[in-house]
């Protein structure tokens, strides 16, 4: 039952990373249980809730449905890397904090990664409907999404200021 372990080489949050992984391990399992990056969450393990959303080469991916070996040579960013990239606290994270967009906080890392991918893609202020569409794959049970949408719109405006 034990398949041969492979050496996975990729970039995680800007750092070259080499980790031995079994081929059936998901990216989420490797991030959480081998690399101790606990920010990405498991809410369903079936690609429904979006709490495990990370970015692979800047594109949002469900880490629970991505085999770890599939990110060989690629660049993985988790919520831990989002802040590091901005030198501490990313404007999106700051906006989520100010707007109280994180209540229980469990969906927050995944939502931040999906929202950041949207803002990086469009590079301009976004509308509430654009945010709704971009976050349609990320479930939140606490907020009713209102403050999440406000926070993303606010961050997009701040990021677009010269």
């Amino acid at each position: 039952m034990t398949a041969p372990v492979r050496l996975l080489q990729c970039t995680v949050n800007g750092r070259a990373t080499a980790v031995a992984v079994a081929p059936h391990r998901t990216l989420l399992e490797v991030l959480r249980y081998q690399l101790d990056l606990i920010g990405s969450k498991q809410g369903c393990d079936k690609g429904d809730c979006g709490a495990c959303t990370v970015q692979v080469d800047g594109v949002p991916k469900l880490a629970c449905l991505t085999l770890a070996v599939a990110v060989e040579g690629r660049e993985v960013t988790t919520v831990e890397g989002l802040g590091e990239r901005a030198g501490g606290c990313h404007p999106l994270q700051d906006a989520f904090d100010r707007h109280d967009a994180a209540q229980c906080g469990f969906c927050t890392p995944g939502i931040l990664m999906a929202a950041d991918a949207l803002l990086r893609r469009v590079q301009r202020p976004v509308t509430p409907d654009e945010v709704r569409a971009a976050l349609a794959g990320n479930l939140c049970r606490c907020t009713g999404y209102t403050k999440i949408i406000d926070a993303v719109v606010d961050a997009s405006r701040r990021l677009s200021q010269p």
Binding site: K46, D100, C104, R141
Partner: protein
């Protein structure tokens, strides 16, 4: 206190850790030598358990295995009754009931073990609907499948219904089960040590519920059982009573294994095995004058409690008390029953019975309005409770309530009259498939435990002064996303006259904090917040009495405070203020007669939903939602609005998307793939407004957590009725159900 922190939207205490991903939830923790636990469950609703077989090909000697005979104490989940076992021993009473526990150092191997266990079962007839339970052909509880019945009456309902001058309107309204669907699944980590006892960490709302369950199971002195709440990814009532089961399971596995054991449910297991909102059926028979004046209400309220009694009596009680709403009515009779079935036990979920009975009444009022040709808002306004009048259970409203103002504000914000007219004009003229409608619900929600519940709880909260001049909040109330930490810090900072930064709120740990009661029933800010204010005042008084602090209740120079504390602690071991719950004067509840002061205070609200119905697909889209409420003084407006917005979204889900499909008593859609909660695309803009407190700016705060669950479902269905003319009476109302209602309305 003008310059205080109460009333201001200070940022969430743990906000930074949550947005950076640093917050550690239970599955983010690991203890040295930790094993992984799994639960073997029944695949059928009811059966005699003849035996358990461990299958081939699994190294069973590596496992810790716990059955009913391996428990250190009584095989009981400690709640109201003792009918529910921790592990089914002879008879299986519901699907996914725990039968056997396994733990192994390797998570995957633990799963292999679970799959290899075979249960020898002799099927027994199950009761999988309210009708079957009431018919009583198969009895699964007591003599008649009735867990609990409450009756209360005032006036002469029969005479009023027989009055020739009234119109009698009858209706039956149903609500379905609802899954809490917190995004973090349930989980616990337990440690056992023969000398030090049991320590459990996990995702939970009520540390002392878990504590009591473990003390009873392990038969240990209370100080040898320690329960620590980890950051909790949502609860909504789902982590009120069930965590006691998981904690007990993890703890007996840890005892058997001699290792810490982590027991985390995956989503499917969580949805199948843990509690949900009680399904309900309400029969209304109402006498009303042609001008809309309510004369008599005859209400029969039934909830499906599932296979064990759990918390159903209290859910029933709250539902019954709310079943006649915030309306004046001279003659009211309420019969309420919690019924036993073979479903997994239904349990606590935000609103706790009130959303079910409020849905029925509000729906019924729209049916009455349509029958009499009255505007639904006008019908409500005519009957709203006034100060000095009595609720259905005889509670005199002492507050100077002005519900008409709450309703007016909601109607103004939603442009009720203009939109109502515009929608009707649109619906008359359109050839297309879309219909528009607007609906309203007015309601109240009692905060805190029902009846004498708070007196029995006798909650305690403390504030401790540290040598560095900071204050530590000692309370068992948990932060589960709703903002407990922040609100407590605001309240204590103001009472102490100190900056917010001088107040610390720790993670509840029964080794450190007193029992301030469970984090339920919208009671945290209202009840425990008040205790903390009193505890802080008492701490200040101690320093004043010692001549270390000047008199007064206003701001204190933090340096002066720090010196005062330092001097006090030079002579004393510690400095704490403590407060214990005392009921407000003149409050009395008669449980036998089911009459009296049911709650110390009520929040009042009027919600309006604006919808579009697509007649082709029978889909309902909520376009706009207005939520206006009076909740006393709002401690933190942004956090409070967050509670309302989240509750409204959950209630939209309950009304339109969330259907628990039971097939032969088992949840057939236990995933987020097929149990649909609202996404960002499904949730409308939610416009929240808090009315100035009826008692003025210094009014006490009322509970708000559950309130927003009550109003949206009836408001949305009222809007669908306005849009289509059809009269839906049941939720969830998925397109399949609405299509049927529309078809029946046509024929």
């Amino acid at each position: 206190m003008q310059d205080g922190f109460v009333g201001r939207s200070v940022p969430r205490r743990e906000g930074h850790d949550k947005v950076t991903g640093a917050t550690a939830y239970v599955d983010d923790l690991s203890l040295p030598g930790m094993w992984h636990g799994v639960t073997v469950r029944s695949p059928v609703a009811r059966a005699r358990l003849l035996g358990v077989e461990l299958g081939e090909g699994v190294p069973w000697h590596e496992f810790a295995i716990v059955g009913p005979d391996d428990l250190p104490g009584p095989n009981v989940v400690k709640l109201i009754d003792t009918d529910q076992p921790l592990l089914a021993a002879d008879e299986i009473r519901h699907c996914d009931e725990p039968v056997l526990l396994l733990a192994h150092p390797d998570r995957a191997m633990a799963e292999r073990g679970r799959a290899a266990v075979r249960l020898r079962l002799e099927p027994l007839p199950a009761v999988t609907s309210l009708d079957d339970a009431l018919r009583g052909d198969v009895v699964v509880w007591g003599r008649d499948n009735v867990f609990r019945e409450y009756r209360t009456a005032k006036g002469d309902v029969d005479a009023a219904l027989a009055d020739p001058d009234v119109v009698v309107v009858e209706g039956v309204y149903e609500t379905g089960a609802q899954e809490q669907m917190y995004i973090e699944p349930q989980g616990m980590i337990a440690q056992f040590d023969a000398e030090r006892g049991v320590t459990v960490r996990g995702s939970l709302q009520c540390p002392y519920y878990v504590h009591a369950a473990l003390v009873a199971l392990f038969q240990l002195p209370p100080q040898q059982v320690r329960v620590i709440q980890t950051a909790t990814g949502g609860g909504f009532g789902g982590k009120e009573e069930y965590p006691s089961v998981i904690a007990a399971h993890a703890a007996v596995l840890a005892r058997k294994a001699g290792h810490p054991v982590k027991l985390i449910y995956d989503r499917v297991e969580d949805v199948r095995a843990t509690t949900k909102r009680h399904p309900s059926r309400t029969h209304h028979r109402t006498a009303v004058r042609r001008d809309g004046t309510l004369v008599a209400m005859d209400i029969d309220f039934i909830i499906d409690g599932g296979a064990y009694l759990t918390l159903s009596p209290v859910v029933l009680s709250r539902g019954a008390i709310h079943s006649a709403g915030p309306y004046r009515c001279e003659h009211v009779r309420i019969r309420a029953r919690a019924i036993a079935t073979s479903h997994p036990p239904h349990g606590a979920f935000r609103g706790f019975g009130a959303p079910q009975s409020v849905f029925a009444l509000e729906r019924h009022l729209d049916v009455i309005a349509a029958r009499l040709g009255l505007d639904p808002a006008a019908l409500r306004r005519k009957n709203l409770l006034q100060p000095g009048e009595q609720t259905a259970v005889g509670q005199v409203v002492r507050e100077p309530i002005a519900l008409d103002r709450v309703l007016d504000r909601a109607l103004a914000l939603s442009h009720w009259h203009e939109r109502r007219a515009a929608h009707e004009a649109f619906n008359r003229s359109t050839d297309g498939p879309l219909r528009r409608g607007i609906g309203v619900a007015t309601f109240m929600h009692g905060a805190g435990f029902t009846g004498a519940g708070e007196v029995h709880l006798a909650s305690v909260a403390q504030v401790q002064a540290e040598r560095d001049g900071t204050l530590t909040v000692l309370a068992a109330s948990t932060e589960i996303g709703q903002g407990t930490n922040t609100v407590f810090a605001q309240i204590v900072a103001d009472a102490a006259g100190l900056p917010l930064s001088r107040v610390r709120v720790g993670q509840p740990d029964t080794a450190v904090v007193p029992d301030s009661g469970p984090t339920v029933a919208s009671r945290t800010t209202m009840v425990v917040g008040t205790l903390l204010r009193r505890a802080t005042a008492s701490l200040r008084q101690t320093l004043r009495d010692a001549g270390l602090l000047p008199a007064g209740t206003g701001p204190v120079d933090p340096e002066v405070f720090t010196q005062a504390v330092a001097r006090y602690l030079a002579d004393h071991e510690q400095l704490r203020g403590e407060a214990r719950y005392e009921p407000p004067p003149g409050i009395a509840w008669d449980e036998k007669a089911f009459r009296g002061d049911a709650y110390a205070s009520y929040a009042w609200a009027a919600y309006v939903a604006d919808v579009t119905v697509d007649l082709r697909t029978a889909e309902v889209r909520v376009d706009d939602f207005v939520a206006v409420q009076e909740v006393g003084r709002v401690v933190n407006p942004v956090l409070a609005a967050g509670q309302i917005e989240g509750g409204v979204a959950q209630a939209i889900g309950w009304a339109l998307f969330e259907q628990v499909v039971y097939r032969d008593g088992r949840v057939a859609n236990p995933q987020m793939t097929n149990y649909i909660i609202p996404t960002a695309v499904d949730t409308p803009p939610i416009r929240v407004e808090f009315m100035p407190p009826f008692l003025g700016d210094d009014a006490p705060s009322k509970g708000i957590g559950e309130l927003p669950m009550d109003g949206p479902a009836p408001a949305i269905l009222a809007a669908v009725q306005h849009a289509t003319g059809a009269v839906p009476t049941a939720i969830p109302m998925l397109p399949e159900q609405l299509a049927q209602v529309l078809q029946e309305a046509q024929s």
